[in-house]
């Protein structure tokens, strides 16, 4: 296990290095740079001054030198400084990362809470009335653009009913750690979470449904029935356990997908997280931040898949990771 993790981390290093190179080159290739983003159009900042600042930031060095300097710091955990926020990127990310991860996590949980029971029902009673409804919902969730859905959620629940706040992650008036704070945090999470979760169930439901339909026909299920195991138990003990395995294995992957896909939800609900930051940073040509975000997402993918493999290794006795 330890060896497995070690090896995966070892593999991760060249991958991340390559990723860093790619994103660095790409970020550099964007028209304009952080100085343009920050000062362009401010007549008081003369072109000379802008050159001066570029020089200070090292923006005029050949790209490989810039890359070298940047990656050396990066390896040491210093992701550089955001030009727009005038702040170390690590510091900048700290708060947002937490928000995004929290949102992703809640979305995942809620989407599982919806998807797993529905998937089970659809799989167990295939072609029933329920099943058709669930499949219909599935189609709907695949076909609805997430931002339209999120906007409608926002307009309905916030504007019309006024049940939930319009944006941000918490009401500042409550003290960190207090019950009110917790409630406020939860209230702010409800809409983004629900929007993401309701549209995010399709994969799981479909997978679970198909897998249960497959597993139902497996011989070991017949064995179980032949043992005299009651029907309900056949499902909970034998079929479900087998069908849930892949879902558990997707967990790591799903989280990374959610983090990467947070852009829409965060933008619409003005939820301060990585996705929103990414869009802002692209606009401001804040390429240290862009690069850091891409690196984080890349690392998240790697860690996510590793996590999936580890989970699978733990829950599935057939798979030994070493």
């Amino acid at each position: 296990m330890l060896i497995f993790i070690l090896r995966r981390i070892l593999i991760m290093i060249p991958q991340l290095l390559l990723l860093s190179l790619v994103i660095f080159v790409l970020a550099k290739a964007m028209p304009g740079d952080a100085v343009t983003g920050a000062f362009m159009g401010n007549p008081d900042v003369t072109p000379e001054r802008m050159e001066e600042i570029r020089e200070k930031y090292g923006l005029n060095d050949p790209w490989y030198e810039q890359y070298g300097a940047w990656i050396q710091k990066f390896v040491k955990g210093d992701m550089g400084k955001s030009y727009v926020h005038n702040q170390p990127v690590t510091q900048l990310l700290a708060g947002k990362l937490g928000n995004t991860v929290l949102l992703a996590f809640c979305t995942l949980i809620v989407s599982y809470l919806i998807a797993i029971p529905l998937g089970i029902i659809a799989g167990r009673w295939t072609d029933s009335w329920f099943d058709k409804l669930i499949v219909g919902y599935n189609y709907f969730s695949i076909a609805t653009p997430i931002f339209i859905f999120a906007l409608l959620m926002l307009f309905f629940f916030s504007f019309h009913l006024g049940w939930f706040p319009f944006g941000n992650s918490v009401d500042i008036r409550y003290d960190v750690g207090s019950w009110d704070y917790f409630v406020s945090k939860a209230k702010h999470l409800v809409l983004p979470t629900l929007s993401g979760a309701i549209l995010g169930t399709a994969g799981t439901i479909q997978y679970l449904r198909n897998d249960i339909i497959d597993t139902k026909l497996k011989d070991f299920v017949k064995t179980a029935r032949a043992k005299g195991v009651p029907e309900g138990r056949v499902y909970t003990r034998h079929i479900l356990r087998n069908s849930l395995l892949p879902i558990a294995a997707f967990l790591g992957y799903e989280i990374t997908m959610l983090i990467a896909g947070s852009v829409f939800i965060e933008t619409i609900f003005a939820y301060p997280g990585l996705g929103q930051l990414f869009i802002t940073s692209i606009g401001g040509r804040d390429f240290t931040v862009v690069a850091a975000l891409v690196m984080i997402s890349g690392a998240a993918v790697i860690v996510g898949t590793m996590l999936s493999d580890i989970i699978l290794g733990i829950v599935d006795p057939r798979i030994r990771i070493d």
Binding site: K218, D219, F220, K222, T223, A224, R225, A226, K227, G228, V229, P230, E231, H238, R241, N242, L245, V315, D316, P317, R318
Partner: protein, 339 residues
């Protein structure tokens, strides 16, 4: 008089194919006695497994329709509620499946899988159940039973797994054991071991066994009585020595002469012409084997053939057996191309 454990009367198992039901097991009546091995042979698709699953009540109600009676200890299994059926299954009725590779839940330990039926049927403490399980494992010939207890199926070889499957079937001392091709998926040497094991267990337990196979060798080694099935029907039923000595039904005869080891001089094997008809294409009124022995005159066959008891305990379906002979020019080739 030996007691019968299972009495199948006019069982008909039909599958739904596009809105119509077609019988895969057609009007089968069989009796299994205590301490007896009843073998059911026949080629692939003749309805052996369908019969076994009918007895166990394992057919999916949505596709299968069962008619007739399956009396197990004077209860008709077909009329039992699921709960009552579950009381019998795994307790008095044990089943051994063909493929040991897929018959075990890959995610549970061997121990847990053997314990499971006990949990539902025996009132035992968990320590007792474990003890019993270990003993069972030993009885099916597994030596390091303590280790195997906590292993997972994929860690065992095919032969070992089949032993585990047998142990599960035996977990609650069943009165009747149904074994659907228990050795087909195994290597010859392992097959021999499993056969010997089953024989040994059978002498100990005195339960009835329904042994389903397509291998006449296995039948010869294990069976007390044999039912030969063709296209959903029992075409011949006899005591094993009787059948091997004097197979009567054309199908049985053909079967025997198509086995290489029965042909001494490396000559040609007998080939049954044509193909097994599909469920839908089957002509259900005449002799079902008639299309495959076209040289036998139509008049030799019976309409809606019955089982005739030709000798005590030896039944044959259809009158065509009486004047049956292999196609004379058969040695010339098996095909119409040369005809």
């Amino acid at each position: 008089m030996v007691k019968s454990v299972l009495e199948i009367k006019n069982l008909q198992t039909s599958f739904r194919i596009k809105d119509n039901y077609y019988a895969a097991v057609d009007d089968v009546s069989l009796t299994v006695h205590e301490n007896e091995v009843l073998a059911i042979v026949g080629e692939s698709g003749c309805g052996k497994s369908a019969l076994a699953l009918s007895i166990m009540g394992l057919h999916d109600k949505k596709v299968a329709k069962l008619e007739g009676q399956i009396n197990f200890r004077d209860q008709n299994i077909l009329n039992l509620s699921p709960a009552k059926l579950n009381k019998i299954r795994g307790k008095d009725l044990g089943m051994i499946f063909q493929d040991p590779m897929t018959a075990l839940n890959p995610l549970s330990t061997i121990g847990a899988q053997i314990v499971e039926p006990m949990k539902y049927h025996l009132k035992l403490s968990s320590a007792d159940m474990k003890k019993r399980t270990l003993e069972l494992l030993r009885r099916v010939g597994i030596k390091n039973e303590n280790r195997v207890f906590s292993q997972y199926p994929h860690e065992l070889s095919g032969g070992m797994r089949q032993r585990v499957v047998i142990a599960i079937a035996l977990a609650c001392d069943p009165v009747l054991l149904i074994a659907d091709e228990p050795t087909t998926a195994l290597d010859v040497t392992i097959q021999a071991q499993i056969m010997d094991l089953m024989k040994e267990l059978q002498t100990q337990m005195k339960s009835g066994i329904v042994l389903i196979t397509h291998d006449l060798g296995v039948v010869a080694e294990m069976a007390d009585r044999v039912a030969v099935m063709y296209a959903g029907e029992v075409v011949e039923l006899a005591e094993v020595n009787e059948l091997f000595r004097k197979p009567l039904h054309p199908y049985t005869q053909s079967l025997f002469s198509s086995i290489p080891s029965n042909i001494k001089d490396k000559g040609r094997l007998h080939v049954i012409e044509g193909m097994v008809p599909s469920l839908q294409a089957l002509d259900r009124n005449g002799c079902r084997f008639a299309p495959r022995v076209p040289w036998i005159a139509e008049s030799e066959h019976e309409n809606n053939p019955k089982l005739h008891e030709v000798e005590p305990g030896h039944f044959v379906r259809c009158t065509c057996y009486k004047n049956f002979h292999f196609r004379p020019e058969e040695s010339e080739g098996d095909n119409h191309v040369f005809a």
